[in-house]
C-alpha cells in the first residue's frame, strides 16, 4: 500500500470549493469581517492571558467602603460592584471563564462531531441515514435545555455547563462535516485513491480530514458564540459559575439587584458578552468567506 501515492487535489474549478482556503488575489480578498472578528477575539484572549499574571485588584476582594464606586474612583478604572469588587478585574478574570467554557465545550463538540460527521459522509447510505436521524434527535436538545437537564441531575456548575453545551453542539458539527465529507468524496482525487485501493481510514485521514478542517474551524467559531450565550444564560439563572468564579453572566446576575440605580455594574459585563459573541460570529463569517469563495461578500 505504501507504493500508492495520494493523488494531489485537482486545481480546476471543479474542486470542492467549500473546503479549501479561497485563492489569494484581488478578486478574493480576505473579508474585513475576518480582521474585525479576529481583532475582537484576539483582544479577549489577550485580556484573559494577562489576567493570569496581573489584574488591577484581586477580583474577589470586597471593599465595602467603596461599594458602587463610579469609574476612576481610587484606581478602579471601571468602578466597583455592590460588594466593592473591582469591575475591571472581574471582567478580566471573567474573560478567562468565557474562553475556558468555549474551548472545552467546542473541543468536546469537535472531537465527537468531526469523526462522526466524516463517518456519516463516507459510510453506506443506510448507516449514514441512521447517524443523521440520531443527530436530528440530539438537535431537539438546544444547549440551554441540555445544560438545565444536566444541572438538574448533577447540580449547576461551570463543568456541568461546559459538558452539556459541548454535547448539544455535537449535531451541528456532524451535519456540517458530513456535508463537507460528501463533497470531498465526490472529488476525482478521492475516486482515484479508491481505485488505487486505499482503505477508507486512509482516505478519511489523508483526503477528507485535511479538506474539512476549514469547516471545523468555522463551526468552532460559531459554536463558541453559542457557548458564550448559553453560559451567560446559565450563570444568570444561577446554574453556571459559582460565587467564587468571576464570570460575565454571573456579574449580570449579581448586577440586577442594583439595576437600574447602578446600571454600570451590569453594563460592563453586558458589553463584554455582546462584544465576545459579535467577535466570534464575525470571525466565523470571515472564515466562512475565506474557506468558501462563493460566499465572499455575502455576510
Amino acid at each position: 500500500m505504501t507504493a500508492v501515492q495520494p493523488v494531489p487535489p485537482p486545481t480546476e474549478p471543479a474542486a470542492p470549493a467549500v473546503l479549501g482556503p479561497a485563492p489569494t488575489g484581488s478578486r478574493h480578498r480576505v473579508s474585513p469581517l475576518l480582521y474585525i472578528g479576529g481583532a475582537i477575539v484576539g483582544l479577549i484572549v489577550l485580556v484573559a492571558l494577562v489576567s493570569f499574571f496581573w489584574t488591577p485588584f484581586d477580583p474577589l476582594y470586597t471593599d465595602v467602603v467603596n461599594r458602587h464606586a463610579p469609574p476612576g474612583t481610587a484606581g478602579h478604572l471601571l468602578g466597583t460592584d455592590m460588594r466593592g469588587r473591582d469591575i475591571a478585574s472581574l471582567l478580566m478574570e471573567g474573560a478567562r471563564t468565557t474562553l475556558y467554557v468555549g474551548i472545552v465545550s467546542v473541543g468536546i463538540a469537535a472531537l465527537i462531531g468531526t469523526p462522526i460527521g466524516i463517518i456519516a459522509g463516507m459510510t453506506r447510505p443506510g448507516a449514514s441515514e441512521f447517524i443523521m436521524r440520531a443527530t436530528d434527535i440530539l438537535l431537539a436538545f438546544p444547549a440551554l435545555l441540555m445544560a438545565l437537564l444536566f444541572a438538574a441531575k448533577w447540580g449547576g456548575s461551570v463543568t456541568t455547563a461546559m459538558i452539556a453545551i459541548g454535547i448539544a453542539t455535537v449535531p451541528a458539527f456532524i451535519r456540517v462535516i458530513r456535508s463537507g465529507t460528501l463533497q470531498v468524496m465526490s472529488a476525482d482525487y478521492v475516486l482515484a485513491a479508491r481505485v488505487a485501493g486505499r482503505r477508507g481510514t486512509a482516505i478519511a485521514a489523508h483526503h477528507v480530514l485535511p479538506n474539512v478542517l476549514g469547516l471545523v474551524i468555522v463551526q468552532a467559531s460559531v459554536g463558541y458564540a453559542i457557548a458564550i450565550l448559553a453560559e451567560a444564560a446559565l450563570s444568570y439563572l444561577g446554574l453556571g459559575a459559582g460565587p467564587t468564579t468571576p464570570s460575565w453572566g454571573r456579574m449580570l446576575y449579581e448586577g440586577q439587584s442594583g439595576w437600574p440605580t447602578y446600571p454600570l455594574v451590569s453594563l460592563w459585563p453586558a458589553l463584554a458578552i455582546i462584544l465576545a459573541v459579535l467577535g466570534f460570529n464575525l470571525l466565523g463569517d470571515g472564515l466562512r468567506d475565506r474557506f468558501d469563495p462563493r460566499l465572499a461578500g455575502r455576510s
Partner: protein, 313 residues
C-alpha cells in the same frame, strides 16, 4: 405524498420514543435519583426508603415503561418535592408559554422578512451594510439582556409598561397585552436579528438565479421580481430556520419568564432544576423535546408542500 407523510410521521414517533429514553436514562437511570433528591448527606436507610417510595427498586425497563405509558395518558407522575401532579402544571404553563412564543415569533418575522429582503436588495450599498451590521449586533445580544434594557427604558424610565407580571388573556385582554409586550420584544427582537440574516442569505441566493434575471429582463424591478417569483423558493431554507427558532424561543423562554415573572413552562423548568425536582424536570424536558421534534416534523411537511420536487421523491 402519502408515503412521505407516513415515513415522516414514523420518524417523528421513533425519535420521540428514543428522546424520551435518553431523558429518562440521564435523570433516572444514571446514579440514584433518590440520593440526588435527598442530597449527599442522606443516610443509606433514608435513600433506600425513598427509593422504594419512588419505585426505584424496580428494574429500569419497568420504570421507563410505567413512566412512558403514563405520559401517553397525560400522567407525568407526582412531584416528590411539591407533592402535586406534574401533568396539569405542564399543560397549564405550556399554554402561557405558547402565548409568549407565538407573540415573539410574530415579532421576529415582522422584523426579519422586510429587513432581510431590504438588506439583500441593497447588497453592496451603505444601507445594506448598515442593516447587516445591525442584525449582527442583534444576534450578539442575549434575550435576557434585551429584557434588562427594555425594562429600564419602557418600565423604569418612561413608566409606559409593567416590568413584570402575567394576566390570563380572557380575564383582562388589555392588561395581558401590556404585560406581554416587553417579553415578546425581548425574545422577538433577538430572534428577528438571527432570522434577518437567514432571510438575507436566502434571498441573495435566489437573486442570482436565472429565472429572476429573466423576470427582470421582462421589465420587473428587483423587488417585484423577487416578491412574484423568488419568495417561494427563498422561503424553503428560511422555513428550517423558523423551525429551529421556534425551539430556541421555547427554550429561551426559561430566562425571559424568570425575568418577567411569567408562570410558563420555562420558569417551571428553572424552578424545578433549582429544587432538583427530577421527575418534574423529566416531564418538562420530554414535553419540550417532543414539541421540538414535532415542529421539525411540521417543517418537513411544509417543505413538501412548498417544493413540488420533494413530493415526487
Amino acid at each position: 405524498m402519502a408515503w412521505q407523510l407516513v415515513r415522516r410521521l414514523l420518524i417523528f414517533l421513533i425519535s420521540a420514543v428514543v428522546a424520551s429514553m435518553l431523558i429518562f436514562l440521564v435523570l433516572s437511570g444514571l446514579g440514584n435519583p433518590a440520593r440526588t433528591q435527598l442530597g449527599t448527606g442522606a443516610t443509606d436507610e433514608a435513600v433506600a426508603e425513598l427509593s422504594k417510595e419512588m419505585g426505584l427498586d424496580r428494574p429500569l425497563v419497568v420504570q421507563y415503561w410505567d413512566w412512558a405509558t403514563g405520559l401517553l395518558h397525560g400522567d407525568f407522575g407526582v412531584s416528590y418535592v411539591q407533592h402535586i401532579p406534574i401533568g396539569p402544571q405542564i399543560s397549564d404553563r405550556l399554554l402561557v408559554t405558547t402565548w409568549l412564543v407565538l407573540g415573539a415569533m410574530i415579532i421576529a418575522l415582522l422584523i426579519a422578512v422586510p429587513l432581510g429582503m431590504a438588506s439583500a436588495l441593497r447588497h453592496g450599498k451603505v444601507s445594506g451594510y448598515l442593516l447587516s451590521g445591525a442584525s449582527q449586533i442583534g444576534v450578539a445580544v442575549p434575550a435576557f439582556l434585551a429584557a434588562f434594557i427594555l425594562v429600564a427604558i419602557f418600565s423604569v424610565s418612561l413608566g409606559w409598561l409593567p416590568a413584570n407580571g402575567y394576566t390570563v388573556p380572557a380575564a383582562d385582554p388589555g392588561l395581558f397585552l401590556k404585560q406581554m409586550i416587553l417579553p415578546w420584544l425581548s425574545l422577538g427582537l433577538v430572534q428577528g436579528a438571527v432570522l434577518t440574516r437567514y432571510v438575507r442569505s436566502s434571498v441573495l441566493d435566489e437573486m442570482g438565479q436565472d429565472y429572476l434575471r429573466t423576470a427582470r429582463s421582462k421589465g420587473l424591478t428587483p423587488g417585484s421580481a423577487l416578491v412574484r417569483h423568488g419568495l417561494r423558493n427563498a422561503a424553503i431554507p428560511v422555513l428550517t430556520v423558523i423551525g429551529v427558532q421556534l425551539v430556541t424561543i421555547l427554550v429561551g423562554a426559561v430566562v425571559v419568564e424568570r425575568i418577567f415573572v411569567i408562570p410558563g413552562i420555562g420558569s417551571y423548568l428553572a424552578d424545578s432544576v433549582d429544587r432538583q425536582d427530577l421527575l418534574a424536570v423529566q416531564g418538562i424536558v420530554v414535553t419540550l423535546v417532543v414539541i421540538a421534534l414535532f415542529i421539525s416534523f411540521l417543517v418537513d411537511l411544509a417543505y413538501t408542500l412548498i417544493d413540488p420536487r420533494l413530493r415526487r421523491r
